[in-house]
């Protein structure tokens, strides 16, 4: 079986699967159960300076699909609402009882040097492997000048990272907020401040739904609602892009990455790692299904690694990064066409109407003489957009097949139809 052990920011972990700083890592009780279930590490629920925050009642909103499966949740919780000393005591106990498992202390403080340094030192003394700086929380804490209020200003990201690096001699992870225009600015700031790694993403600022009877955004707190942090599988595409941007940009690619955001299955985790994450963190999937989901993460990833012939995770970590290109680097002469397997087709007509109404009128629906219908791709019309391929309910019924061509690789900057074409071409 493949070896899932990994190393991030110099910390060895049994496997790349950690629980992100959130309710699943709120106290010793949870953390012990998580380690028993097989998680390689946890990032403890964010610690702040006493007195602890107070949370409101009704905290989560939901984005369901029509089958009531959760695609994402949003929350308006704050950081740990338990006394600091109690959290630190429990961290000490967990470290002693579970020496092979990683514990990272997450922290947040007002934008004052002393506050960051004192809290970082106290947490480091509890024996954690590293410290994560929560610069992401998009609700509540930012109104107090913390969380995303810091994470959205690159200079402050650099500043707090530097303060904590100066105060402790264990690895520091700077956790980034996705609620910015360009993730590279905060990543670069973290790097300049001396971060050993960045963790991303924190939650996406959002209003998840509105109660149409009461006309109040959800979650509802006594007739009012507020924006909160969105997470779960719905945010995975946003997170993946940010991870890839950091991993492929020369100025930031030296940063190690703890990938977070919607990771639910082993495949999600493998994708994050292929695009630049050295390890991953999970929150929502555990909140929806319980700690036991780690079993699928571990089993699925090792199975896939065995099938692919990977014996260790670093053999595929960042392996997809070189293939992430700018649009201008794509081959304009590449052509792919949809192909429908008539034996698999169940004649639902979905591909036809999708292409007919919204794409390129490239799928004909013909009556068959023996009854029923046949769906045929009109090659001359098909632009290879993939829409039908994604819509078809039957696995492998529609495939996209590249067209053989002798044409050279040609990018848009080289293309004859480009009015701005490089004169040199």
């Amino acid at each position: 079986m493949a070896d899932l052990s990994c190393k991030i920011a110099g910390i060895d972990s049994l496997n790349p699967f950690w629980l992100a700083s959130a309710p699943p890592t709120d106290k010793k009780y949870n953390v012990v159960r998580a380690f028993q279930a097989g998680w390689g590490g946890v990032v403890w629920k964010t610690l702040g300076i006493d007195p602890p925050v107070v949370n409101v009642s009704s905290r989560y909103g939901a984005h369901h699909d029509q089958n009531r499966r959760l695609l994402g949740i949003n929350n308006i919780e704050l950081i740990s609402d338990r006394p600091l000393a109690l959290n630190l005591q429990e961290i000490r106990e967990c470290r002693a009882e579970w020496p092979d498992h990683v514990i990272i202390g997450s922290m947040m403080a007002p934008i004052e040097e002393r506050a960051w340094k004192d809290l970082a030192q106290q947490i480091a003394e509890s024996g954690v492997h590293g410290i994560e700086l929560n610069l992401g929380c998009p609700h509540g804490m930012c109104e107090r000048g913390m969380g995303s209020a810091i994470g959205q200003v690159p200079e402050m990201v650099e500043q707090v990272t530097r303060w904590v690096k100066e105060a402790v001699d264990i690895p520091v992870f700077t956790k980034l907020t996705p609620n910015i225009t360009n993730i590279l600015w905060s990543a670069e700031a973290a790097l300049k401040g001396g971060a050993d790694a960045v963790s991303l993403i924190n939650t996406v600022n959002s209003i998840i739904s509105v109660d149409l009877d009461q006309m109040v955004p959800e979650p509802m707190v006594d007739g009012k609602g507020t924006h909160g942090g969105y997470c779960g599988s719905a945010v995975k595409p946003i997170a993946l892009n940010m991870v890839a941007e950091i991993a492929r940009t020369p100025e930031t690619r030296a940063l190690e990455i703890s990938g977070i955001g919607g990771i639910t299955t082993w495949k999600d985790a493998a994708e994050f790692m292929a695009l630049g994450a050295n390890a991953v963190q999970v929150c929502t999937a555990a909140m929806i299904y319980g700690f036991r989901v780690v079993d699928d993460l571990i089993d699925g990833m090792s199975q896939w690694m065995d099938d692919q012939g990977y014996s260790s995770v670093d053999q595929f970590t960042r392996k997809a990064v070189p293939q992430v290109a700018n649009w201008n680097e794509l081959n304009m002469n590449f052509d792919t066409k949809a192909v429908i397997d008539p034996d698999k087709c169940i004649e639902c007509g979905r591909c036809h109407i999708a292409c007919e109404d919204t794409s390129h009128q490239a799928i004909a629906m013909n009556a068959k003489p023996e009854g029923g219908k046949e769906f045929v791709v009109i090659d001359e019309e098909c632009v290879g957009c993939n829409l039908c391929y994604h819509i078809c309910p039957v696995p492998d019924c529609i495939t996209m097949e590249p067209v053989k061509t002798d044409k050279p690789y040609m990018t848009w900057p080289q293309h004859p139809l480009n009015p701005m074409r490089d004169a040199a071409e």
Binding site: C348, G349, R350, I353
Partner: protein
């Protein structure tokens, strides 16, 4: 089985009232919201969906199912009812296994159709339970008067659509209650409670429809009079007569028409007081035969034998219905025809001759006979039109002849339902006939 004691014929109280109530509760219990959500999400929202083509009333099935899945069951019900005003009955009584569900694309790869019938019932029941104002509006009054003969599915569907189009409708119904076979004929475990009556009440909510009960064409009213007092007439009298075996002793007590047996059962306020034979023989191969056999069994008959003159593949009862008979313990005997009724004051037994197909494919007796002891015989060998009250209309093959606008050979008189030859003799086909005939009458009145 319960008892070996000899029992006098046609007795009651063979089963407790509780057991009987259970036997006649919904064959397919209604969906819960959770079931409706899960099942509606199995629908692929097909384009040019084959299920729609397979529905005689062309209900927009993908649209109504999608509305259920988005939390809009009343909108789903309106989609259904706009094509089929008796969507509630059809959801319960349609042989979906040979209609919409048979065509569902989910059969192809998974052998498991979307349960369209149950979803339809969920939506329509949801709307009807809310007692909202009638969902459809009448067009501006046309001042035209339409007579409808028969308040069965065909007549009521025609009346509803005609009223919606702005006409005033008077329905003449021979019986004391409306609904036709919805009320008197459908198996009691398909149409439970007073649904048939509630549905008629709902349908009449459109306004502009008057029903006169106890008015039979040919007995109480004459076609010529109706014709002269109305601008158009729709005949939806169904099949009022039944076929006979043509055997001596057919009049013996204990030999009944299956539909009379079912009508009694449907109308009984307490089914546990109904008499039923000890050994019941049902003759026939259609759904009526199956319904009679299963209901006799569920009423407490010890032994029910269904005898059909051909093989299972020739039965007009669907595979599902045949299966239903078997799981209810009905003994089915194929390839035998009745040749003698044994009666001695009261019914004793029935003699059958085995049958086979000869070289030319014709059904013939083999000469070999057997006897089944029985104290009740239920005949379900087909119904036919009662012709005496339909003078002036051409009848062919036992059905009223109509053109493609549902007009009979008597100008201004239209017909639909079981009394014409459209599709199968099914509730849903009758509803379609009535609806289309109303649209045709509307066009006829505009050009007349």
């Amino acid at each position: 089985m319960t008892t070996q004691q000899a029992k006098p014929a046609l007795q009651t109280g063979q089963m407790s009232a509780v057991a009987i109530a259970d036997n006649f509760s919904d064959l397919h219990p209604p969906f819960s919201t959770l079931q409706a959500m899960a099942e509606s999400n199995r629908c692929l929202y097909c384009y040019d969906a084959p299920c729609v083509t397979a529905c005689p009333t062309s209900i927009d099935i993908p649209s109504f199912i999608r509305k259920i899945s988005t939390g809009n069951p009343d909108g789903a019900a309106k989609t259904i009812l706009s094509a089929n005003i008796m969507g509630g009955t059809c959801a319960r009584a349609c042989p979906t296994e040979v209609l919409c569900e048979q065509a569902c694309v989910r059969n192809v790869a998974e052998d498991e159709a979307v349960e369209i019938g149950s979803l339809q019932r969920y939506a329509v029941d949801h709307l009807m339970a809310r007692n909202l104002p009638h969902p459809f509006k009448r067009a501006e009054a046309t001042g035209k008067k339409i007579a409808v003969i028969g308040a069965g599915p065909a007549g009521l569907s025609c009346a509803h659509r005609a009223a919606m189009l702005g006409h005033d409708v008077t329905v003449f119904e021979a019986k004391p209650k409306p609904g036709g076979l919805n009320e008197y004929g459908l198996a009691a475990y398909k149409m439970t409670n007073d649904f048939a009556q509630r549905e008629v009440e709902f349908l009449l909510g459109i306004g502009g429809i008057t029903i006169e009960y106890g008015k039979a064409l040919g007995r109480d009213i004459a076609l010529a009079d109706v014709k002269s007092s109305f601008d158009a007439v729709f005949v939806g009298v169904g099949l009022g007569a039944t076929n006979n075996l043509g055997l001596a002793g057919e009049a013996a007590s204990g030999v009944d028409d299956a539909i009379d047996f079912i009508e009694n059962l449907r109308q009984a306020s307490d089914k546990s007081t109904l008499p039923v034979g000890n050994s019941v023989v049902v003759i026939g191969g259609g759904n009526t035969a199956i319904d009679a056999a299963v209901q006799a069994k569920r009423l407490g008959a010890d032994e029910v034998t269904l005898v059909y003159r051909r093989g299972p593949e020739h039965m007009s009862a669907t595979e599902f219905e045949q299966e239903l008979a078997k799981i209810n313990g009905v003994i089915v005997r194929y390839w035998a025809k009745p040749v003698e009724i044994k009666a001695n004051g009261r019914l004793m037994g029935m003699v059958f001759e085995k049958t086979a197909l000869d070289a030319s494919g014709k059904l013939v007796g083999t000469g070999e006979t057997f006897e089944v002891k029985t104290d009740q015989v239920l005949k379900a060998i087909g119904q036919k039109i009662k012709t005496d009250d339909l003078a002036g209309m051409e009848i062919s093959g036992g059905k009223i002849v109509v053109d493609d606008t549902y007009q009979t050979t008597a100008p201004g008189i239209f017909a639909g339902g079981d009394c014409i030859k459209s599709g199968e003799d099914l509730t849903v086909q009758s509803v379609e006939d009535g609806k289309c005939a109303a649209i045709a009458i509307d066009a006829f009145l505009k050009t007349a």
